[in-house]
Symmetry: C3
Subunit: 627 residues, 3 copies
Amino acid sequence: MSDSRSDDRSVVYRLSPDCTSDAIEVGERYHARVNGVVEYGVFVDVSKHVSGLVHESDMPEDASYDVGDDLVVELAAVRDNGDLSFEPVAGDDFETVERSVQYDVAAVETLADRVGDTVHLEGEVAQVKQTGGPTIFRVRDETGIAPCTAFEEAGVRAYPEVDLEDVVHVTGEVETREGSVQVEIEDIDVLDDPAATDLRDRLAAAVAERAEPVETEPLVEWPALSGLRNDLREVARQLRKTVLESRPIRMRHHADGDGMCASVPVQLALEQFIDATHQDDDAKRHLLKRLPSKAPYYEMEDATRDLNFGLEDQARHGQKLPLLLMLDNGSTEEDTPAYEALDHYDIPILVVDHHHPDPEAVDPFVDAHVNPYLHGEDYRITTGMMCVELARMISPELDGELDHVPAVAGLSDRSKADAMSDYLALARDAGYDEEFLHDISEALDYEAYMLRYDSGATLVNDVLNVGGDEERHRDLVPFLAEKAETAVDRQLDAAMPHVEHRTVANDANLYTIDVEEHAHRFQYPAPGKTTGEIHDEKVVETGEPVITIGVGPDFAVLRSDGVRLDIPQMVSDLNDELPGAGVSGGGHLVVGSIRFVPGMREQVLDALIEKMADAELDEELRSAPTR
Amino acid sequence: MSDSRSDDRSVVYRLSPDCTSDAIEVGERYHARVNGVVEYGVFVDVSKHVSGLVHESDMPEDASYDVGDDLVVELAAVRDNGDLSFEPVAGDDFETVERSVQYDVAAVETLADRVGDTVHLEGEVAQVKQTGGPTIFRVRDETGIAPCTAFEEAGVRAYPEVDLEDVVHVTGEVETREGSVQVEIEDIDVLDDPAATDLRDRLAAAVAERAEPVETEPLVEWPALSGLRNDLREVARQLRKTVLESRPIRMRHHADGDGMCASVPVQLALEQFIDATHQDDDAKRHLLKRLPSKAPYYEMEDATRDLNFGLEDQARHGQKLPLLLMLDNGSTEEDTPAYEALDHYDIPILVVDHHHPDPEAVDPFVDAHVNPYLHGEDYRITTGMMCVELARMISPELDGELDHVPAVAGLSDRSKADAMSDYLALARDAGYDEEFLHDISEALDYEAYMLRYDSGATLVNDVLNVGGDEERHRDLVPFLAEKAETAVDRQLDAAMPHVEHRTVANDANLYTIDVEEHAHRFQYPAPGKTTGEIHDEKVVETGEPVITIGVGPDFAVLRSDGVRLDIPQMVSDLNDELPGAGVSGGGHLVVGSIRFVPGMREQVLDALIEKMADAELDEELRSAPTR
Amino acid sequence: MSDSRSDDRSVVYRLSPDCTSDAIEVGERYHARVNGVVEYGVFVDVSKHVSGLVHESDMPEDASYDVGDDLVVELAAVRDNGDLSFEPVAGDDFETVERSVQYDVAAVETLADRVGDTVHLEGEVAQVKQTGGPTIFRVRDETGIAPCTAFEEAGVRAYPEVDLEDVVHVTGEVETREGSVQVEIEDIDVLDDPAATDLRDRLAAAVAERAEPVETEPLVEWPALSGLRNDLREVARQLRKTVLESRPIRMRHHADGDGMCASVPVQLALEQFIDATHQDDDAKRHLLKRLPSKAPYYEMEDATRDLNFGLEDQARHGQKLPLLLMLDNGSTEEDTPAYEALDHYDIPILVVDHHHPDPEAVDPFVDAHVNPYLHGEDYRITTGMMCVELARMISPELDGELDHVPAVAGLSDRSKADAMSDYLALARDAGYDEEFLHDISEALDYEAYMLRYDSGATLVNDVLNVGGDEERHRDLVPFLAEKAETAVDRQLDAAMPHVEHRTVANDANLYTIDVEEHAHRFQYPAPGKTTGEIHDEKVVETGEPVITIGVGPDFAVLRSDGVRLDIPQMVSDLNDELPGAGVSGGGHLVVGSIRFVPGMREQVLDALIEKMADAELDEELRSAPTR
């Protein structure tokens, strides 16, 4: 007992129910209640755990007690066998003092020094995992997470009343198991208010403090990006908080160069932060998953699969449902049905994207939405540029590691941002000339295709040289870039002779090519990039405004240069004009792709070309990014 | 020894071979056999483990023994070093009493109370798993399954003579490991007859008793279904038996609404029963796998994959090969090649289906075949309706949990069963109005599409509210139903303008639509459902007999209303008439789909339509189920 | 100390730095260096671990020592507390003798007998695996591999300075864990030269010795194959070495009959060798993976995936990158881009193939290339025939197990090798008649299709009866062969009526068939085999030279009989003549397949047929193998 004892005989202690015999002392007085009447006296409780006898001989002659009666007693003696002897105290002029057990609550971070001790822990249940043997509760306090094990019966859930995300008090012995510290639970209680609220507040405060992003200086001075830094800090804060709360993160990103420049640094930053905050070496595998998206938006199939995985992990490993982090994807109306599906579960969503956003559709479903258009900027700030800053706000260990990445991102998306020259200079200082940066961008594209929907972690790390091997990087990039170039040449050899040209009403050059008939199927580059390459050649060749359409059986890829298109508007108009054509699509304003019903292909293309022929020419719109 | 000893000197014991020195006593007499002749006497065996010397000095003068001679001896003394001294007994007027070792065979269910004891177990080897360290034998007796470990050398198979499914006697010490009880094997012997047969009989009897299905009352009184109850009880019995024998179950089901209403309750029931009968929390993951089928029948590819998985699990985890449970699939001739493939391995097959069956083809390969047609009923008894009853016969914990499921199954398959009103009433009492039930059915369909061939356990549980979360269910179903409806509308917008109409010879309205040309490819709903939705609109629109054909490059989906088609017959006729068209197909009588060689598409369609034009109209055939 | 001590007072020992007090003895003399000067004397070091005092009273009057001074001392006394007392020795006429610690280095294979002892191990770090608890170093010496565990902090990498493939000295206690022997590391040091080089040499020598292939006699006497035996022995040596060095092997093989006859025996041989050389029962799962290839060559996608898996295993399990073993694939120029990609990583490549090779393209990237063409032989020596010999060189346990396999391989590839009759006789002696061998070949083909890109280990083992179950084999093969035949008949029923015939300039019969239009799509047999079956029928039907072309939208399968085609040359010519057609292809000289851009299909076919019409007829070229 750590409280000081009073000698004042007028003091009567009221013991809290969990007090043990450690909380009493001969000569002290306690509030007691009769719990049994026997021939030779009455038994009284002074707490849940402390009882004793008031012998008949010590009672007043006329005394008569019934079970449930309250009285005041003084502890007269503790017998050798531990039995307690109380004497009744007359009168009612007492000062009552509450006495509760003063736990010495241990911080998780100190457990390693207390192996063999019985300790008290207080925290939130971050995971409940039933093994074939014991049940494992992972309990998180302000300083860390400790596995606490309880055994009821082999494979049987112990303490079924204790749920994920409850706040609890654990009593148990600290032991080591295969080198890890764990607590063998003697008792675990769900805390009630006010203790519960108090603890939750403390945990939240501790998390909030530790979630505070790293203070960074931007890699380059760039007013356009500065306006987004607060938004990025908020995303960094939420991601760090998510890690600290042991909630898994599922990262979905656009499967192209900019998407990888965005996702790989954030992945590395989160892995570093997980390593720094979780004892378990496997934590980063459980808590973070990076997945390229199949489509240029978040498809319902992907969301269904993500949800399904999350629910299975919850059921099988007692994990929280994940947070979804969308990178270089996620800002458009096409993403919202999938978001809405996740909204029915407890799955927060964060978006960092530079595609033309539809905040009205998206914002009701997401917890953060960072997009340059929301700050009056545009796609020239690529997602990779933003995410390099984001990664640096998440982990302090990245300084100097990412200097080349914004330039790669910019080249990948052909960004004409003012800051490109600064980024190129920064990359140059880090040992990357522009040609090599361009090679990285091509190599990323090529690997993205080869890996399909596998994240290809280690390999991509080498290609981008973020968390990879520098020597391999220098070796691998030129090789892959050359393979990519050869493959592009092969595709162009097949396609170029079949590209059709016409000059349309607004004097733009219109090129069309059937990318399924006149290109190698299922080979790199895919129709989108093949169209882009043709387009780029034609832009250089003509030096005039160019529109290029790569047509497939139920899709068309659109590229334009020097023409003011509004693809979202065209999609909407085509839908009105051609009922039954089922036109949909997306991308940037002047560059994107549309889908339609195969049987309406000719009608859709005719109508589309008519619209394009009417579009205004605009010198400013040259060399826009590819989606 | 627990038997009482006789003082009657005329008694001679015949010891069973496994008796040890515990089974003998000085002064008792035993049948013995000479196993060695030495200068100073002969050595005799009284059991495999008990031998001793008959000293020359104790023999009759003229005695002469050879190895193999039988005699009767009395135990004269046990020396300090354990050596036994026997004396020969003359005469032949003995009463022979058999004495065998009286093991105190421990029941598996009592092991937890005997930690530290050396015990005897008898049972069947249900699994042999070689780990990097010891070999683990899982031994099953009448009361449960115990892991028994033996260590020969790291990673080396101990007791290679003991195989899966042998019956064995184990001697070993009970210990706990990570909270689980296990037996460290001192000795394990394969039992010979008669002990082996006796034990197998006892195990079989115990399994038979525990496999007896739960006594249930049907959810609604329905004579048509009552006829099937005995068949379903037999399936329930076999499934419970399969669980008790630790044989894995692989469940394949039709990937549609009725298929899920059939499979999800049976899955839950089996999981509950596994939990109740297996200590290991992971058992349900090892013993049960639910998989939607790709095709409307059991394809050879699926069977090959199932077999391959089963063989790998056998090789790697020492598991038995699985039992195959086919639900809402499996009754047709098209399933038989796959069944025949499994027949070459020890894989029992159970079928519960309501598609038009071909018992002659199917029954030779299956252990049970439940189908309403086999009882003079038809597809109106959906598989979901049957399987809800089946699930309740498997697990007693399901009461009240499944009241809404038969109605969903009926709506999914548009059943016109008389009992539909009772099922709808039952669901209404459980809080489900018809519109909501219909929404569940649409939501299931939508999720089945989104999940492709993933079982999507937890998510589907929520959608159907079987083993799921009620709150989420109420929240999720309207959302998914609405998404499904939007997607259907989008598909119909594209398709409807291109539906072609003609009136054929029998006055039916024939509608045809190219579902690849005039629908969104690879998007929900797939061609089958798209055709169905068009058909339903046309039925309502015309109020007359309608046939709808959704045509693809190598398939056609057929829907009819008010026309007496016989699709299996048409397929057979088309095959005769159009050699080289490769027509195949299946489904219900009046609703189904056919496949053909792409180059013969026009000829097949022409011939098909001709046949349909000849079909009889029939007022009774309205609103048939979709496959 | 095991070295003998000298009494010669002129001897002065120079102790190696790692000597402990075990290496010294009172009365001996040592080279020492002053490490501290105090009031009462100087402290000297005689090794890193051994220091002591030279007391002032024992020094010459005029002596004056500074830190760093060298002197010779004699050990005068060892005090009770272990302190050492040295006396300086005057003079310089000494014989210096080096004394180093004589570890009793334990061999891994002896550890099981030394549980509880502290031992020294020396070897190469074959794997570094970080668990949630300790770090596990798997240390390989000349006799085996031992897991050595070190605990720094839960989940934290211990001894981060020790890397994969370092050679190390481990001191630690031998213990058993779940029956496996392991060493709990007290200290682990990376060895420096010369000790490192010495150890590496010893390990290499030991590996080289153990890697020496099994001495075998060929299954049949066949001069053509004899020329390849040395090459095969070299591959066997490298594979055994790879296993001994714990490097994983990734086996890619052609997904057809010959490919399986090649890969399954080698897989079994390697598994047996792994079992014989690795304690861990799981080793074969970690060290060997067999994968059928999607394409008839090693695609960049496959290489990317293989690389990605290898890198992930390296990152997660600390494994070495794999060796790639190409079987019945890998000899052609089309394989080289993928090889080049792997070349950027430390991934050795071995090739055994019988397709027309391009050694100039291939050999720069591979460590071994076995191909009959490189020895003046041709495709008639199938890869299966070669690999049966290879397997027998890897594992001595295979004798008699593979006698039927070369015949199956030969029949699968329709080999007209002289040795076929010997192989058929060998198989007959093993109980296989020709019809049954043919059935095996058809069954393999069928299973290869059904399994797609799954290796289907156990199932294929049964079909081929290599490491499978004989009884099942006998049962399964006729069943699968019959299913395959039925499926072929069904495909031919659809295709045959649509086969077009013409007689071309060289008088050969040319048959063409659209294999996508007039065959069942996505069903067995695939276009290649369907074309082959049509071809075979036409060869028999006409008895004349036949060319058959199975055409798809962007490919054509070519079969010829009695016509001297040179497919690689035709591909090259077509590419020159038809820019934009993107013709590519491969296979054997007279049998193969080409790919092209769909929009150029007619032009390509016309040009192709023209070339074929010009080809020379050649009686010798009948019944060539199918690719």
